[in-house]
């Protein structure tokens, strides 16, 4: 009797274990920072890839926020066990480029003899992530800040159903909406440094930092405390005092102010479109990031979001799998599906054309907004930012913005302090990287 039970158990175990062993796939690890609806979408994309072929199994792992992904990848790299692919945000670009720990994507694809039409990627994306004309990381989730507005609040204030085009209109509309009881505050801004400075400067063709925003050298200094920066931040501070603007914290923390109807407008990444479509309980639409109008030129905004970096330190045989996954992501079909599902912009001309042909943007105008801001040919001021330890600079800037919005410092004093602190960080990075 016992023997029988044993035999059955052994057979059962063999049945369970057997198939997985015979199919042993090469694992490709992929660390990312996508949570919530975006995380589900990444998992779906990875699943599609895993089903599309039999040799490789991509394991996607959400390692927290972007800085946490970076720190985790660094720790793993130092222990000689890095993930194959790491999703890193825009501001981590310089750190990754100078790390010596990455396998440039253009080189990987060349080695694996996978032809990719790099020219098909849109300019603001290739501009941000290329060095000497070659892409170093695979464009994946690119977004740009846009304006979201609550149509119900606009209607209540008797405003036409169109977004404010200029900052002047943002102020006027806000005051009307508050007076009419449409909302408690006019607008709020997520990712304050990214939306209000890092993008607002190139959008007006203003330099953010010396050395063409850090592209041409390491001895870079911030330029945000000039006339334009003081004017813009000063206006926000004045509006904060009047209740037109309501500061809501860093990162995506201010979103609830818009979601629950407290603020009639929100400036936030286009990446939240997918989430908003599911969760917002009122009619809403989008508009371009507001502009100050003349005398400033309307240029382009820059891309935020992330790209996929391939890390060194793996068996050469794994490279093929990594390259295949990268090719899979760059295909128009995946590009389109990813951007339609999330609100990130499609990053290749082909994907954009295909979407246009299907009248996608006519039916979903909110998904055109960010792309429309990225269409101009970038100038040296609007190619992107290449600053070392940008995460820390951003934090220094946001700390000072809080002092300004709290009325503790004037816009000029706050921005001066942010520049001084930012320049220290840049100097430290240059010293640590140049050796």
């Amino acid at each position: 009797m016992k023997r029988w039970a044993c035999a059955v158990a052994v057979v059962a175990a063999a049945l369970v274990v057997g198939p997985t062993e015979s199919l042993a796939k090469t694992e490709i690890s992929f660390w990312h920072a996508m949570g919530g609806q975006l995380g589900d979408t990444v998992n779906e994309l990875v699943k599609q890839f895993n089903h599309s072929q039999a040799e490789y199994e991509v394991k996607a792992l959400n390692k927290g926020t972007y800085p946490e992904v970076l720190t985790g990848a660094i720790a793993a790299y130092r222990q000689k066990n890095p993930p194959h692919i790491v999703q890193m945000f825009d501001v981590g670009t310089q750190t990754m480029l100078l790390s010596g720990a990455i396998h440039p994507i253009f080189q990987l694809m060349k080695e694996q003899e996978i032809a990719i039409n790099w020219g098909d990627f849109i300019k603001p994306v290739t501009g941000y992530y290329s060095k000497d004309g070659n892409l170093y990381s695979m464009p994946f989730n690119s977004s740009s800040p846009i304006l979201y507005y609550n149509k119900d609040a606009f209607k209540k204030a008797g405003l036409p159903d169109k977004p404010p085009a200029t900052w002047k209109e943002v102020g006027e509309f806000s005051k009307k909406i508050i007076a009419a009881g449409g909302a408690k505050c006019g607008f709020t801004t997520s990712w304050p440094s990214w939306t209000m400075l890092e993008n607002t400067f190139p959008w007006h063709d203003q330099p953010f930092a010396t050395n063409q925003n850090g592209y041409t050298g390491l001895d870079t200094k911030l330029l945000i405390n000039g006339e334009f920066g003081v004017k813009h931040i000063g206006q926000l501070a004045a509006w904060q005092k009047e209740g037109v603007y309501s500061y809501g914290g860093r990162m995506g923390q201010p979103d609830p102010k818009f979601i629950n109807g407290d603020c009639a407008m929100l400036i936030q990444s286009s990446a939240v479109i997918g989430g908003f479509k599911k969760s917002l309980k009122f009619e809403w639409a989008t508009g371009q990031l507001p502009h100050w109008g003349t005398p400033y030129k309307k240029q382009n905004t820059i891309v935020g979001g992330g790209t996929l970096w391939v890390m060194k330190g793996h068996k050469g045989a794994d490279d093929k799998g990594v390259a295949q996954f990268m090719r899979f992501i760059a295909e128009p079909h995946q590009q389109m599906w990813w951007s339609v599902t999330t609100g990130y912009v499609p990053v290749t001309q082909t994907a954009i054309k295909n979407l246009e042909a299907g009248y996608h943007f006519k039916k979903n105008p909110e998904q055109w907004t960010a792309l429309s801001q990225l269409s101009a040919k970038p100038t040296p001021n609007s190619l992107g930012h290449r600053l070392g330890n940008f995460v820390q600079i951003r934090e220094a800037i946001e700390g000072e913005l809080e002092n300004v919005f709290a009325g503790k410092k004037t816009a000029k004093e706050g921005l001066d302090a942010a520049v001084a602190k930012g320049n220290d960080i840049l100097k430290e990075f240059a010293a640590a990287s140049a050796q």
Binding site: L70, G100, P256, N260, G399, E400, A406, A432
Partner: protein, 294 residues
């Protein structure tokens, strides 16, 4: 107490070895590594590293930001300790009353200690966040005062102090409760018979008898607030607004893990270690004299 005598001379060393090994690997080794890192400048990925002497320390000691983080740390530590000890003693005293369902109350007051600090931070966010918290929402019905710690530094500081003290109060309660229960009822009864009121009894009998525990908790709470109080601040304010809640240990994390400036971060942790060693030494030198061990 009976002195233990070991037949084998090696055995006692062998018995303490595991503890020494744990302390060595998890405390002394990292501490020494911090000291080593603090005199280097290291690139984010650690591929380039070179000796800079005391440069990291010089930079810190000439930066006003660093001094403000020291001030914040002391404010925070004394706030957390005062509230934690005060509330702990009060609740422990209440939990010695003869009431129905005492065991349930005693269990309940220890609960917060079982909650991980980041979770506590999230709970406080849901109650106090100006955008989606319950309290600011209710407040908006009764007053026009805007409870916005996103821009008011001292409100943010008060919030993280209360939240941190709350996470730690269960620990204090447990010790105070044990201390209170160890005080012989006969002594208190005798004092009552002699006409001592509740306040007099507390001052002359309970407090002196509790003093070893109070002293222990004082030291532990201060060390905890300086070193281990990172979770709540990380979850609630991230050191903001401005730098109003950036305490030393948060700056160590932020400059090291977010800013990837490992040299400065290590130098800060060395300085933080010195501050805490000094504080503890001072306490043993001066405060302990007033402690009565029975």
């Amino acid at each position: 107490m009976k002195r233990a005598v070991f037949p084998n001379r090696l055995l006692p060393y062998l018995l303490v070895l595991p503890q020494i090994a744990v302390t060595g690997v998890f405390f002394f080794w990292p501490a020494l590594e911090s000291v080593r890192l603090s005199v280097f400048r290291t690139s984010p990925f650690g591929d380039k590293s070179f000796f800079v002497g005391l440069e990291n320390f010089r930079k810190l000691l000439t930066s006003s930001e660093y001094y403000s983080s020291i001030v914040n740390s002391f404010l925070f530590a004394f706030g957390v300790t005062a509230i934690g000890l005060g509330a702990g003693l009060l609740v422990a005293a209440l939990a010695t009353q003869k009431i129905r369902g005492l065991a349930a109350y005693r269990t309940a007051v220890l609960w917060p200690y079982g909650i991980a600090p980041p979770i506590a931070g999230i709970i406080f966010l849901f109650i106090f966040h100006p955008s989606y918290g319950a309290l600011p929402y209710w407040l908006s019905f009764v007053t026009s005062y805007e409870f916005n710690w996103l821009l008011k530094g001292w409100v943010a500081m008060a919030l993280v102090i209360v939240a941190t003290a709350w996470t730690h109060v269960g620990y204090n309660i447990a010790f105070f409760l044990a201390g209170l229960l160890a005080i012989p009822a006969s002594v208190l009864e005798a004092a009552s018979v002699d006409g001592a009121g509740a306040i007099r009894r507390f001052r002359s009998i309970i407090f002196p008898l509790l003093s070893p525990i109070t002293f222990y908790l004082l030291v532990v709470n201060l060390i905890f607030s300086f070193f281990g109080s990172f979770g709540v601040i990380h979850a609630v304010t991230q050191g903001g607004p401005g730098r109003a809640t950036e305490i030393m240990v948060f700056k160590v994390y932020n400059d090291g893990l977010i800013g990837l400036n490992l040299g400065s971060s290590a130098a800060q942790s060395v300085l933080l270690m010195l501050v805490v060693i000094a504080l503890t030494a001072i306490q043993f030198r001066f405060v302990e004299k007033r402690v009565t061990y029975s």
